[in-house]
Each structure stands twice: as structure tokens, then as C-alpha cells.
């Protein structure tokens, strides 16, 4: 690697590594060691072709997503597994049952498969549409849709407070009042 590229890489890591590590923490269900491992792997891959990558952050993120979904490693580097980071209790109205629900939900997210968690993070944390998630994970849109569906079903099973999928859902209830009706 050229010295200028190395400097650029160093600057990128200084600027973006914390944000990327936070994403990795979510992707790994809160396992800090696994998250650092995931980020290191993504940065290693980016480092090797740094000068040829046009969008560095997008590239690193994509590697992280795909690595998390298709992890194939000979040796594990984790020395220990950390307890997932718990959601912060928010003051005010959310401090009660809502916070407990989030804690339970966060623990349940940690029990999803890597593929399921990647889809959930991309859909609900990165707020990406299904088509973009499919492109990032190199899989059909239908796979993203079905994975997201199964992920939510598993979360429901793991967190009884979420309740079952109600019959009304199967008819896609309107969550807003159309303007035509308001008139």
C-alpha cells in the first residue's frame, strides 16, 4: 500500500471506527469481542484494496454485513463472550414496562441467527428498504422479506410481551386514515 493510502486509511479509521464498531455491536448481538473481530476483518479486507475503493465506508459496511451472514473462519479469535449491552433505561414515560420490553427484546435479538440479525439491523437500524438490503447481502428481495418475517416471528416467540400476530394483520389493517375518508 502506498504511504498516502495508508495515511488515508488511518484517517478513515480514526474518523469512522467508533461508528462502525457500534454497528458491529448490533450485528453481533452485543458481543463486544465478536464486534471488534468483525470490524477488524472488514478493515483488513478494505486495507488490501484501499486505493481502488471508491466509497470506503460503504465498502466496509458491506463487508461487515456479508461477513456476519457468511462467516467462515478457521480459527476463532474470541477469548470470551461478553454479556450483551443492555438498552439504557430512558427517563420519563418509558422508564417502566417499555424499558423492560426493550431489555427483553434486546436479549432476544441476540438469539437470532447472524443472517436474521443482519437483516433486522439493516431494515430497522439502518432503515434500508428491502431492495437495498438484498443488494448488500447479495440475495433475492424475497429472501430478505422472508428472513425479516421469520425474525419478527422468532422475536415474538422469545418475547411473549410482543403478543401473537393478530388475525387483523393478515388483512393488512390501515395504520392511518386515508385523506379521502377524512373528507
Amino acid at each position: 500500500m502506498e504511504a498516502s493510502s495508508h495515511d488515508e486509511f488511518r484517517e478513515f479509521v480514526a474518523m469512522r471506527s467508533t461508528a462502525l464498531l457500534r454497528l458491529a455491536v448490533l450485528l453481533t448481538g452485543g458481543d463486544r469481542h465478536a464486534a471488534e473481530d468483525l470490524l477488524q476483518i472488514a478493515l483488513m479486507k478494505a486495507y488490501g484494496r484501499w486505493a481502488r475503493i471508491e466509497q470506503h465506508e460503504a465498502y466496509v459496511r458491506q463487508v461487515m454485513y456479508r461477513q456476519q451472514v457468511n462467516r467462515w473462519r478457521l480459527r476463532r479469535h474470541r477469548a470470551e463472550t461478553t454479556v450483551p449491552v443492555l438498552p439504557e433505561s430512558e427517563s420519563g414515560t418509558d422508564a417502566g414496562a417499555d424499558s423492560e420490553l426493550r431489555i427483553a427484546l434486546w436479549a432476544a435479538l441476540g438469539r437470532l441467527s447472524k443472517r436474521q440479525r443482519a437483516v433486522v439491523v439493516l431494515r430497522y437500524f439502518e432503515d434500508l428498504p428491502e431492495a437495498e438490503v438484498a443488494a448488500l447481502l447479495a440475495c433475492p428481495v424475497g429472501t430478505v422479506r422472508s428472513t425479516a418475517h421469520r425474525s419478527l416471528a422468532k422475536l415474538r416467540a422469545l418475547v411473549p410481551e410482543l403478543g401473537p400476530e393478530g388475525p387483523s394483520e393478515r388483512v393488512q389493517p390501515l395504520s392511518y386514515t386515508p385523506k379521502e375518508v377524512q373528507r
Binding site: 471506527s17 464486534a35 467462515w72 394483520e169
Partner: protein, 454 residues
């Protein structure tokens, strides 16, 4: 709760995670650089181990299963004899050799930034033919084998950009006519693995990790057409080795602490698998020596520590297991015949007998080693079977030859490696052309005869 509500709860939960406390370590760049180098180094070292074992195994082999005594390598280091027609030479081949070289017969087969393969006359340094890169050439891969007039190497699969505008060329395994440089065939690989584990020669075929990461396929060496394939289960990883043309797999579950490693033999003609041994724990394949595989595992609770157990397994499944304790912080190690030659970052070279489980000698390596922080990868040592000398090269161009029997320094020299910056993960390379040494640093190649014992 409706799906929309559950989605909203998931969204809130993900955004409420206490990420403020998550901070990337300050030395992340160094961690990444070191780790990448270690990985590439260990992968590259694996290739060197296999090559070394093939070339010298017959000379320093196990001697029919080991007698409990170390077989003397030679009475003493012997003078070097120049190859026929060889003269000392130095050449610069920009674009042709930055990724590395392989010596076969009287030629060097190299890869560089502009050529995926280049043939260089080993007697003179003259370039004979080249195969242009598919868009670009980087990394530390180079032709890995030559047989029956065919050179096997890697190149990018495509020159096109990905839909997102980035370039990820992928990898093809290719076969090149050793006389003309014509590409005979190429096969796409499922990942960018260009290490010794990606493809290897077996009896009558090229065994390649394609078309999936869990499959090894035997390819016809002249056409690249698949003859058979062996696929292992999901959740299992298999390391590969070749003993006397027969492929073996050392397979273990892809978990943190594997219970056992199974060693399988594949029929080189049909691919049918036979389990020949089950070893405790997660074993890492170090290389081959003569008719044996060498595997290493952490001993007891010392995972990550220095207490290891080396196990050799023959093609028939016979195994010998010995404790091994690394001397200092290991910088490189090579299985050479019965010997495990190691160099520590503290500048000590040691020879360990796989037969007796004893360290035979520990001596100063004789060259100044760089800091691990500045040069995490060292050139692999090379053994001259004819001379009974193990040679070491420092990244600054210092050369040292130690008597393989005693560890005594028998020769030292220095070559000017220039100031060329190497690709990341790269390091100078030391090769042997018969008794002559070939030192490569980027595009600069120097060939010299070590004046040992004469």
C-alpha cells in the same frame, strides 16, 4: 401487537442500545495491520512448508517411523556448487515479480503488479514470457506449482466494476503453458483465497477449492474440467494437505473449542473419502514432511500460550504426538524434514526434532530482525539439502546460513535490496535455485552463490 408495532419496538430497541459506551480502540489500525500480516504470513508460510517438505523430505525424512535418534543431517555444511550455466546476476523486472516467485527447473515463475505470471531464466535473470494481469495485480500470490509443462497460478476473474462502482475482481485459477505463456484454461474460485490451501497438485489432477468454499474439486490438469468433487458439511472447516500425490483433509467443526479433528484420505482417482484418524481438539495443519502431515494444537489450558502439541499423522493414520514449547515470540517457523525450524522475534533460531520431541539447538539467527511492529512478516527460511544449511534473510538484505545439524553460523552476506516499497503484506523473498540463492525484493531480483565451507 401488530407487525408495524413490533417493527417499531425493534427499531426503538436498536436505537436505544447503549452505544455511547462503545469506542473503537485507539490502536485499531495497528491491530488491523498486524492481524492482516499475521494471517497472510501464516498462509504464505504454509505454502513454503509444503514446498520445503517436498524438496528435502527425502533427505531429512522420518527414516521409516523414527528410531528415537536424530539422524545427522550431514557431517558439516558443504560447499555450494553453482548450477550449470549460472552466473551471478541482478535484474529489475517492474510489474513482473512484486507478488512473489517460485523456482522450478531452471526458471523462476513470478507474479507482479502488471503480470499474473512471468517466466524468468534462473541462470541469467532474463524475462522469457509474461501473462498480463486482468485489470490489476496485487497481493502476495504467485505461481504455486509447475508440472508437465504447465504452470498453475491465479488471476482476477473479471476486470469489470461491481454494480456499486467498486472493483472486486474475484479469483480464477489458471493454467499456463510453461513454454509459451499461453493461458490453457481457467476456473473461477468461490473466494479470494490464493493461499496454499486454495489449490494443490495431486496425482493426475489439480485439487482446487471450487466451486464452493466447502468443496474440493479434482480438475483435469490439461483442460480444467472437473473429474470429481468432495463436499463437506456446513459448519465444518477442512484443511488440506497432499502426501505423495494423495489428498487429505483435516476437518473440524467451526466452533470455538472443537472436540476433535478428523483426518480423511481422498482417493485421488475417484474422490472417495476414508477416515484415517481422529485427533483430540482443534488441530491446525502446519504442513507436511515426507509421508506425514504435521498438525499443532494448544496443550491443556494454554490456548494462546506457548505450550503446544505437535502431532504427525502418516497416510495410513499412524500418529506420533509430542509436546512443543515455542522459543520466544515466534516470527516464522518451517517444517523441514524431521525438523521444525523456528525464528523468534528475539533473534533466535531453533531446530526441534519431530521424531524425538527435543529441541536440538537454539542459536542466534545471525541477521538483524526488524521490529514486529514495522515488519510483521519475515521472509521464510530456505534449506539447501545438498549443503545441509538453512538460510535466513532479513528485510534489510542481511543473509545468514546456519549449519542444519548444529545451528552454527557458517556463512553471512548482505545484498542491496534497494528502497522499493513492497505491497502490503509483502516482504523480501528468499529462494533456492539448486545451491544458488535468489533474493527478491519487489521487482529487484538478485542471484548469488553462498560461499559455504569452501
Amino acid at each position: 401487537m401488530t407487525t408495524e408495532r413490533v417493527e417499531e419496538k425493534v427499531r426503538e430497541t436498536l436505537n436505544a442500545v447503549a452505544l455511547d459506551r462503545v469506542r473503537a480502540p485507539a490502536n485499531l489500525v495497528e491491530q488491523v495491520v498486524r492481524r492482516r500480516s499475521r494471517r497472510r504470513f501464516s498462509q504464505a508460510a504454509g505454502a513454503a512448508v509444503a514446498v520445503a517438505a517436498i524438496s528435502v523430505g527425502a533427505v531429512f525424512g522420518f527414516g521409516g517411523g523414527g528410531t528415537g535418534h536424530d539422524r545427522p543431517v550431514r557431517p558439516a555444511a558443504s560447499p555450494a556448487t553453482p548450477p550449470e550455466g549460472w552466473e551471478p546476476w541482478q535484474s529489475s523486472s517492474p510489474g513482473a515479480s512484486e507478488r512473489g516467485c517460485l523456482v522450478d527447473g531452471s526458471a523462476l515463475y513470478c507474479s507482479g503488479s502488471e503480470y499474473d505470471a512471468a517466466k524468468i531464466e534462473a541462470n541469467t535473470g532474463k524475462r522469457l514470457w509474461t501473462v498480463k494481469v486482468n485489470r490489476e495485480g496485487d497481493g502476495i500470490d504467485h505461481p504455486f506449482a509447475v508440472r508437465d509443462g504447465v504452470v498453475y497460478a491465479y488471476r482476477n476473474h473479471t476486470a469489470e466494476n461491481a454494480p456499486d462502482g467498486d472493483y472486486a475482481g474475484g479469483t480464477d485459477l489458471m493454467a499456463v503453458d510453461a513454454d509459451t505463456g499461453d493461458v490453457l484454461w481457467k476456473v473461477e474460485m468461490p473466494q479470494d483465497d490464493r493461499t496454499a490451501q486454495a489449490a494443490m497438485l495431486i496425482d493426475g489432477a489439480v485439487l482446487a477449492n471450487t466451486p464452493s468454499v466447502r468443496t474440493m474439486s479434482a480438475l483435469d490438469p490439461l483442460t480444467g474440467k472437473e473429474k470429481w468433487r468432495h463436499t463437506w458439511d456446513k459448519g465444518t472447516v477442512c484443511q488440506r494437505a497432499v502426501l505423495s500425490g494423495v489428498p487429505y483433509l483435516a476437518c473440524l467443526p467451526d466452533v470455538e473449542k472443537p472436540d476433535a479433528t478428523e483426518v480423511l484420505r481422498l482417493d485421488p482417482a475417484t474422490g472417495s473419502a476414508t477416515k484415517i484418524a481422529t485427533l483430540p481438539g482443534g488441530q491446525q495443519l502446519m504442513g507436511t514432511t515426507g509421508d506425514r502431515m504435521v498438525l499443532v494444537a494448544a496443550q491443556g489450558e494454554s490456548e494462546g500460550g506457548k505450550d503446544l502439541r505437535l502431532t504427525t499423522v502418516s497416510g495410513a493414520g499412524e500418529r506420533v504426538s509430542r509436546p512443543y514449547r515455542a522459543v520466544g515470540a515466534p516470527a516464522t517457523s518451517e517444517v523441514i524434514g524431521d525438523r521444525l525450524i523456528s525464528v523468534s522475534w528475539q533473534g533466535k533460531a531453533s531446530a526441534y526434532s519431530l521424531t524425538t520431541g527435543k529441541t536440538l539447538w537454539t542459536r542466534p539467527v545471525g541477521v538483524e530482525l526488524p521490529s514486529q511492529e514495522t515488519m510483521p512478516r519475515l521472509p521464510s527460511p530456505m534449506v539447501s539439502a545438498g549443503q545441509g544449511v538453512v538460510y535466513f534473510l532479513s528485510p534489510t538484505g542481511d543473509l545468514s546460513g546456519l549449519d542444519l545439524r548444529t545451528g552454527e553460523q557458517v556463512w553471512r552476506d548482505h545484498v542491496d535490496l534497494g528502497k522499493e516499497r513492497l505491497p502490503f503484506g509483502g516482504s523480501p523473498q528468499l529462494l533456492l535455485y539448486e545451491d544458488a540463492l535468489v533474493v527478491r525484493n519487489g521487482s529487484t531480483i538478485v542471484s548469488l552463490l553462498p560461499r559455504v565451507g569452501g
